[in-house]
Symmetry: D3
Subunit: 139 residues, 6 copies
């Protein structure tokens, strides 16, 4: 039996989209206002889904408090009130911190530790605004 | 052709997480504040998804009013303003009413009747809070 | 690597559910208040998901601004402040504009142009109210 | 002591903004897409606030179920799945069903009956979309 | 100059509405399903508004982190995962824990400490569900 | 007769809270993570309320499209994807861009032009996150 459990966490961060090898015009053409040199930012909404069979005694796939602790230590403490281009150890420098890339980096950062807690990571979903979000399922 | 149709229903209920065979300390260690003897509660948000081909005349997979009626009679009328540990016929006593377990019990309660209405149950999704939800796809 | 990117758009429209070959009683019995001759309407919430590998330079599956432009030109400009039974070129006359049918028509309207932009259409999801939505995955 | 109690109800309706004495061009210039002859529609979100002192025994300003019943009978049953220009007895014909006008008409429709239930009407607030709402306080 | 600052906190709790002096029938008649002996519960959403002039150096009316700390220590830590009829020191026994009464008790619990932090309490607003909330302004 | 009309707009921006005259320790003590030198950011949700009597012909206090245009030209175009400490002409340099200060600056920027459109500015409300917002009523 497979049940899916999702925990939401939130973080607020600054970023910009900017390719160093490109001219300012090129950056503006592709990234529009997201290329503002002085940065802009977002309230990010993160949904992490794990899967597994509920334990017959506790009814837990994994304790959601443990899931929350992992997400806080590995993701939220690093990304909240940060600059996503400059401040985060698991986001490679020079890579654009688009929502599409962020879900992949977050997946890689937490996959192992969730497995150690007896569940399997299923999905990392990240809202940049109420109108844009990305999802990654590890494949 | 397969289209998915989802109906939301809501119910408010009390519960606690408590294993009878464990000491109070053990219960507190595993379940934290959820083990409060005097109960606590939630506004649950239920999303039930059925699938099928839209009828060429009505454009319906199944009449969403019929889906809502099934959910009200089989789920909401039983769970709304109830105690999930004590009051609900289709939740086995002694089983923890975690969100992960609830989606499985709700699935079993409604699967047959949805089939009798010409659609196929696809997913039961239940929010316990805005930060925690579980999903079950019948497997 | 496959990442999923979703863009939300909104439109407000009128419609009714009404089968011409049926009597008023039949229409009322099946469609209830949705068969009101004088129409009713909704704020529709549209979520379109595309998939693909993020570009190594831009971090984009496809530029979300291009996705938004396609959705505005092909869907929102045609459906917003429209009558879904009468005004929309890609909704066949006489077909019920149920949410289940609308997601299929929208899929067909945008699938090709998204492919031309280098991404693959994954899902069209449409909320009719906060309590009802439909999804279509192209199969 | 004055406490404020608010109840939300919802209804879905069609309408258009159209001044009979004006040309089509004038109507389009002032009302834009809202003047579409074939109507459009919205999911309306209604918040009605009453005020009073909580009863020392029941803790109620007025029973929220009674408030809900009044709103359903006097407002929702009349406006839900209706055409706001044509179908509603308490909306004068020829008057534009803007959100600003609707809150005034709804106020007049319910003020008396709330008083008869021992509370005082304080505010009628109506969302036309997530981006536009109007409020009326009776003055 | 007067600016208003609001902080949201959340808590989940069980309660019931039940007048000891009344028969079961009377309780059922007035309180409906809220009188279930085995309790029910809610996710409460609390909005506390303070007012004052922003400090010319910090731009703060009061540090929102201090406001949050007060709300957590005085309200959330006591009410979260509690039974509102039994567990909370500042809710008098025998008084109905309706939303209307709760906003008054919460006001009294925090008014003084907010004043000690240099701001003035303006409003306590509490959502019991997405459809019902109460407000108190101290008068 | 006085009716209140509210329009929501959104913008995403970077900022930090930092007093130049203070040491890094002082800034950290007062502003916590908000003092990160590399900036952080938010999705801001702006609600602007105007008041007046609905026009007997149009049913408008003022045309909500004109209100939206003013807000876009005077506020959103300047603040969206900006750095609130550096990029905005109507936010004085050296002043902390707290939510409390922002609502006052936005009020001053738009008050006059709303009056010229025949309505009266009533409230500027700004959400920094789902948990924090500020309001200003011009006094």
């Amino acid at each position: 039996m497979k049940v899916y459990l999702t925990r939401r966490e939130r973080f607020n961060a600054a970023h910009k989209l900017w390719v160093e090898d490109w001219s300012e015009e090129q950056n503006k053409e592709v990234f529009g206002k997201c290329s503002n040199k002085n940065w802009h930012g977002h309230n990010y909404d993160l949904f992490v889904t794990v899967k597994g069979a509920p334990d017959p005694v506790t009814g837990f796939i994994m304790n959601v408090k443990d899931l929350s602790k992992i997400l806080k230590r590995r993701v939220v403490d690093k990304l909240d009130h940060s600059n996503l281009n400059m401040d985060v150890d698991f986001i490679p420098k020079g890579i654009q911190p688009t929502t599409e890339n962020l879900v992949v980096f977050i997946w890689r950062e937490i996959e192992e530790e969730i497995k150690e807690n007896g569940a399997e990571l299923h999905c990392v979903k990240l809202y940049e605004t109420e109108n844009i979000f990305a999802e990654y399922y590890g494949e």
